[in-house]
Symmetry: C2
Subunit: 421 residues, 2 copies
């Protein structure tokens, strides 16, 4: 199988001027990589027709697949349709099916379609539509002939991330697979890990993260959480899932002790909630120092019997003053007043007031869990890193410690239960 | 003055593969825009020598200034120096001054310089160094001859954001100004605003945000906070500051009532802290629902007499239970127990569990301020927006309401003082 290549093109003055951060290119690069396609270039260009034509022509000459975002709106600044027509040397024509969809979206919102939106139903002759279930901008799918090489394929999608992502997954990815004669189905599974650096993870996974592996395993890191993304392509969804199951087990055999759950958006606080739900127990958090990560994460779960509140203070005496108790008994008092089963304490988040953007030197942070019957489990970690992520890393390390305590407790309880006649 | 143009180039497989999000290109685009230079393209390329050569050649042909990041490390993947040498057709030579700096950085860290780092002191013949005060990778500044046009100038900087930013401000920006015969000094001031949308702000500023204005005023938005960035170029820092003062006043005349402070990193919670410090008063926050923004923001200030703690619950009954009081008196009890002067309540942050990435419909949120003597000031807003920013917007609206209450209180107090003999 020859090496297939791609380029991601982002269109809009708001990107070239720096008014907006382009996150589409990263997302598309990951997805194309999942398909086994080597993304070689990103190009960003403003709303100038000739520049768009130049960028599309260069891209279509040098790679097999071009995926572009932006420039498909109804205004005069939106030039992607014209640029593509110029590149393939075809006029634009009105497609009734696209126009009907746009009109129906407006009538669903009880609005008349402005006449300028008609332009969104114009396509270069010979191109295919890419259906947009959410918005008025259909995408354009057009082939570009190249001398001596297979034609390249250009997919133009809207810049709105939610629309772009759905259209890529629903239509573009299957068309890419079909065009290169690959398996017709594709499925993903994301596994989440905490407690290891990226390079150690890569080392332990070894050849599993090779780009040639089937199914492919991709690694990404976000604020000290590692995601492994398994992508399986096969002739049926069942076969995809079977492949994923096998690879998932191989990964668990290597790094299972660091795995806390599956799913793109699954975080440790979801894992904690699940475990507490299972036990019918509840938690409060106490965060001291310069951040309140746990309070924010658990609050995002909404009202739940599991999480009973977040308390955030500069230091322990501030908490003690609220309940008018001595400092040493403040945490125990907090647990009693809230009626929760567990208290998780971060003591303390460091200040980030250092030289801008320099990594924060590692500092000692203590994590304390106070459990039923007032038993206390504490540990100290040395944690540092980039200021943008160090507080999140500390909050996550606190959750990892709490998960460790829960696991120990449950194995103790199990063995106690096992030895009780 | 002719229109000067630029391209930003980002180098590294970690960017083309989507493993890392490129934020350098956005920052550089804003800075180049501040200098009055029109950024027309961004290009991202992996660690492949021929691709780097192609991208640099295309960029140098089509714009006046190219600013690149990445590929200046000591490993075999770092190809920027070789690519630039190939593009200008000059060999690489060792620069003793650069080597001395690299060696001295290692000896400061009590480490021997690995021999592979020597390559970081290699420069294309005829190029200039760009000093890197923080790291071992000096930048490269090289001119590229173009037929019939002024030569283009290529600046290659390391990919580490903190190093890149400092080198751009210290060396690249002054060299760009010098090369185009512009004023020799440049100063920035960022003014911050809350309570208005971007398009309304643009409308009220009118011609002030024209790209030709001197000094130039740039507008950016981050989670509903608007930043206006004034950039003045003149023959001395004093003249720059004089220009900035005048423009700042013009802006205040138009939108002064929405202005809450100056400085890139100055946020509303800093403004609140400053005002409470001035009064010698203190605040606690109570956040209900699905977020804990205020707790996080105020915690980041560290221990201060101003902020006495953050309390986060699903709803008011949860708070009432902690203090074993009836729900209606829970907020008053909280204020008394903490001994703070003011309580700011967000009631409540909505759940974000909607269709992924679709804008959240506007929902009613109540903001309550309880002040000294138990007086209560409340307001209700309808707030929605993109899930990534809607909770921050609600927290910021709460701070805006608190600032309004403080301002009213102080004008009431002033007028009371004025009428008292």
């Amino acid at each position: 199988m020859t090496n297939l290549t791609a380029e991601v093109v982002s269109i809009g003055d708001e990107m070239t001027s720096g008014a907006r951060l382009d996150t589409n290119a990263q997302w598309l690069s990951q997805r194309l990589g999942d398909l086994g396609i080597d993304v070689q270039f990103h190009s960003t260009v403003g709303d100038t027709l000739q520049h768009n034509i130049d960028v599309f022509r260069t891209a279509a000459e040098r790679v097999d697949f071009v995926v572009a975002t932006g420039g498909l709106g109804p205004t005069r600044d939106d030039l992607t349709r014209q640029a593509l027509a110029a590149v393939v040397g075809q006029p634009l024509e009105l497609r009734q099916s696209a126009l009907d969809h746009i009109t129906s979206l407006f009538s669903k919102r009880n609005r008349e379609m402005p006449s300028r939106n008609e332009v969104q139903a114009m396509f270069p002759v010979g191109s295919q539509e890419i259906f947009n279930p959410q918005g008025t901008a259909p995408g354009v799918d057009v082939a570009f002939d190249r001398q001596g090489k297979r034609p390249s394929r250009v997919f133009a999608l809207p810049g709105v991330p939610a629309e772009m992502k759905r259209m890529f997954d629903q239509t573009v990815a299957p068309r890419i697979l079909e065009s290169v004669g690959r398996r017709s189905h594709i499925e993903h599974l994301v596994m989440k890990f905490f407690g290891i650096g990226e390079s150690d993870m890569e080392h332990r996974l070894g050849e599993m993260i090779s780009r040639d592996r089937i199914p492919r395993v991709g690694i990404t890191v976000s604020s000290a959480t590692i995601s492994l993304r398994i992508t399986a392509m096969a002739d049926s969804p069942e076969q995809c899932r079977e492949l994923i199951r096998g690879t998932r087990q191989e990964i668990l055999d290597r790094v299972g002790e660091l795995h806390f759950g599956d799913g793109e958006d699954f975080e440790q606080y979801h894992a904690v909630r699940r475990e507490l739900d299972r036990r019918g127990q509840s938690l409060v958090s106490l965060e001291l120092g310069n951040a309140a990560k746990l309070a924010g994460w658990f609050a995002s779960l909404g009202k739940t019997a599991t999480y009973r509140g977040g308390f955030c203070f500069a230091d322990l005496p501030e908490l003690a003053a609220v309940f008018a108790v001595a400092v040493p008994s403040a945490t125990q008092t907090l647990l009693e007043k809230t009626g929760a089963d567990w208290l998780l304490v971060v003591d303390a988040y460091p200040s980030l007031e250092v030289e801008a953007e320099e990594p924060l030197p590692a500092a000692e942070v203590r994590f304390v869990v106070v459990g039923p019957d007032g038993r206390t489990f504490s540990t100290t970690s040395r944690l540092g890193g980039h200021p943008a992520i160090v507080h999140a890393r500390i909050g996550k390390a606190a959750l990892a410690w709490f998960r460790t305590v829960l696991a120990r407790e449950s194995s103790t309880a199990d063995s106690a239960a096992a030895t009780t006649p």
